[in-house]
């Protein structure tokens, strides 16, 4: 039976440098999702944001699958990740998924971007065909829970999102943002949100992107002007605030470039917000005169100051999450029981029918009515034989020993073996997934 798993690192456990190393996007993300599915889990979703890199999955042997997933991340980090890496299984994994999606585990509790990021991660995995029923249901519920949390609590109220923190800092530098030039470099979701927040305060937005289409889309949504990436240096000279959110693996705003820019700016202050992971801005840029550079971890520091304000609402949100986790677990347990009942009926019916088919030729010519009577008798035998075991299974469903009883029944009647016989050598998790179409 598949169990949910989450293996990963987040801003709670790992520094920015490690998250940068593990973060993936684009083709690398696709490759990682498939690698996780191939090497570790039966189902897989990969959530890679600036604050976390997490492998979500379902597997029949969760301990072994978790070990394989940990080894995979160790390999990517180039060293064993001990305390930085966490593993959640079963109910804890469901709770974690719901909490992450509801922004309860975010650097800035209640920030809205994570919902879109989880949705995107789920859809990407769905497109790749790595999402099965269990993980699919878990993510669908997680998205619904997040919406419920947002509508039933005030967790999203107040100015504690990364974008509003960026606005607040900009106001502490410039006093007033009206008429200030904000340059948005890249098209990351959080960067876009920050730019939108600043432009809503009266700042002029200039969007610099390699993809003109993306730049035009942002301009359509947030206003401002799309600018060619070739004019980057000139745009930086005219900027008051620069928000970088590209997926570049190297620094986009190098120290050398920014030194020249600062000279040309004639001492005007410049606020640089680097939301990208890996970072877009050389950390030395923050040492330049009148340049104030904040990266994702710096923003976390500010966020922590505001966290206390959200604790009360977070407690209410946690209660909603707990109710939803319990409901999901009830569904999952029923999922374990249903295929077992179907499998047992199918196995017994198969045996009785087989024997019946072998016996019938020896009984001579039988009328249709006689055949129907025998058929009913066979079904009645199956029902009577299964009545007590199925009652016991149903009764124990939801109890601690229920899962063990289901596993015993499946082992005794070789329900999993019969599925596996058609796919020799395939790992157990894959065989379990193959059960799904049969059941339906």
């Amino acid at each position: 039976m598949s169990e949910l798993l989450v293996v990963g690192v987040s801003h709670h456990t790992a520094p920015l440098e490690l998250r940068e190393k593990l973060a993936v996007n684009g083709d690398a993300l696709t490759e990682l999702i498939e690698e996780v599915r191939r090497e570790a889990f039966a189902e897989s979703v990969v959530l890679s944001t600036c604050n976390r890199v997490e492998l979500y999955g379902a597997a029949d042997d969760p301990a072994a699958a978790a070990a394989r997933a940990r080894a995979l991340l160790d390999g990517r980090a180039g060293r064993p990740l001990d305390d930085e890496l966490y593993t959640h299984r079963g109910r804890d994994a469901v709770r974690h998924t719901f909490r992450v999606t509801s922004s309860l585990d975010s650097m800035v509790v209640g920030e809205p971007q994570i919902l879109g990021q989880v949705k995107q991660a789920f859809e990407t995995a769905q497109d790749l065909g790595t999402v099965g029923m269990v993980l699919g249901r878990c993510f669908q519920r997680a998205l619904a829970v997040a919406k419920r949390v947002r509508s039933e609590t005030r967790i999203a109220e107040g100015t504690v999102s990364v974008s509003s923190i960026a606005s607040e800092l900009a106001l502490k530098i410039f006093g007033d943002l009206y008429g200030r030039n904000v340059v948005l470099l890249g098209a990351g979701e959080m960067g876009e949100a920050a730019a939108k927040a600043l432009s809503s305060s009266g700042a002029r937005l200039r969007v610099v992107n390699r993809s003109v289409e993306k730049a035009e889309r942002i301009v359509t949504e947030c206003g401002g002007e799309a600018v060619s990436v070739e004019n980057l240096a000139a745009e930086l000279v005219g900027a008051d605030v620069v928000i970088t959110s590209t997926s570049s693996p190297k620094y986009v705003l190098t120290w050398e470039l920014m030194r020249e820019v600062v000279r040309a700016r004639r001492h005007r202050p410049l606020f640089v917000i680097d939301i990208a992971v890996p970072r877009d801005v050389d950390p030395r840029v923050g040492e330049l005169e009148n340049v104030y550079c904040y990266d994702v971890d710096d923003l976390q520091q500010v966020a922590e100051q505001n966290l206390a304000l959200r604790r009360k609402e977070a407690a209410a949100a946690e209660r909603i999450v707990e109710i939803e986790v319990a409901e999901f677990e009830a569904w999952r347990r029923s999922l374990d029981l249903t295929p077992t009942i179907v499998g047992l009926r199918s196995r017994f019916t198969e045996v009785v029918r087989g024997e019946l088919e072998r016996t019938l030729p020896r009984l001579g010519e039988l009328s249709a009515a006689e055949r129907q009577t025998l058929d009913k008798m066979a079904q009645a035998i199956v029902n009577k034989l299964l009545h007590r075991p199925l009652s016991a299974l149903k009764k124990s469903n939801g109890e601690p020993e229920g899962a063990e009883l289901i596993a015993t029944a499946r082992r005794l009647f070789e329900l999993d073996e019969s599925l596996r016989s058609g796919s020799e050598g395939e790992e157990p998790a894959r065989a379990s997934v193959a059960l799904t179409p049969k059941k339906s």
Binding site: G175, H267, P269, D298
Partner: protein, 269 residues
């Protein structure tokens, strides 16, 4: 009576300083309101003290060094109260400006030992020289308060320690522009003060070849402010360097005043 009033005024300034510091570090709105009212009370006491002192002496309140200092202290306080009334966010600068007012006021107490200005030294230039210097120093005191706040705020922003102090201090650009305006007002006044002072000194002691320590510091302060203004206007200088220039310039002018107070003989030089 005068002594009691002096002590009461000094205590009022000291309490206002403590309350403004508390308002800045703790962020309590009540402390800020209390600080403002105590400072207004200090101004009232100060005005009465100055008025009674002038009546006792029978001379204008700017005739002697201690009167100049006490006038300067009152001017700084009044200018700050006016500026902070127009911009609520600037009220926290009281934590930096009120100590300056207190410093000048206490200095005026020490300056009472300084002898009368002789008739020989009195001149038509005296009111212009003293008035320009006092008003210039009032402007520089405000610029000094803004510059200190700027340096603290900039340091917090750079070190990323965004505490409550960061939240309560005004924005960097607001402080920078306030400082620039104050220096722009103070500099021409200081220039008039220095030119008239030099002319006056030359008239009294035409043969004196040596520039006194006070004059040297006055010149250094003038050069510093001239440099800050020039670099701001011509080279677009702003920010931390401009703030530090303003702080050093103001401290030089303060040294000039201290020099006056501790001189063994009276008169301007």
């Amino acid at each position: 009576m005068g002594g009691a009033l002096f002590i009461a005024t000094a205590i009022a300034y000291a309490v206002a300083t403590a309350l403004f510091t508390g308002a800045l570090t703790r962020g309590t709105a009540g402390l800020k309101r209390a600080a403002r009212w105590v400072l207004i009370a200090a101004v009232a006491l100060h005005g009465i003290y100055l008025g009674l002192d002038s009546l006792d002496d029978g001379t204008p309140p700017m005739g002697r060094v201690h009167e100049t200092l006490t006038g300067l202290s009152l001017g700084v306080t009044l200018a700050f109260l006016l500026a902070s009334a127009r911009r609520e966010g600037m009220a926290v600068l009281g934590a930096f400006i009120t100590p300056v007012a207190l410093f000048f006021f206490l200095g005026s107490g020490l300056g009472r030992s300084v002898e009368h200005v002789s008739d020989e030294v009195r001149s038509m230039l005296a009111p212009i020289h003293i008035g320009a210097n006092v008003l210039g120093l009032v402007a520089f005191a405000l610029a000094f308060g803004a510059a200190v706040a700027y340096v603290i705020q900039e340091r917090q922003l750079r070190k990323k320690t965004l505490s409550g102090l960061f939240q309560r201090l005004p924005a960097l650009d607001v402080l920078d522009r306030f400082g620039l305006r104050a220096v722009s007002v103070g500099f021409p006044l200081l220039t008039v003060g220095i030119v008239t002072g030099a002319f006056w000194a030359f008239r009294i002691h035409p043969g004196a070849p040596v520039v006194s320590t006070a004059q040297a510091f006055a010149l250094i302060a003038w050069l510093l402010f001239a440099g800050v203004l020039l670099l701001r206007l011509a080279a677009g200088w702003r920010g931390r360097r401009a703030a530090i220039g303003t702080i050093v310039g103001f401290l030089c002018t303060a040294v000039v005043l201290v020099g006056y107070v501790f001189r063994s003989t009276g008169g301007a030089s």
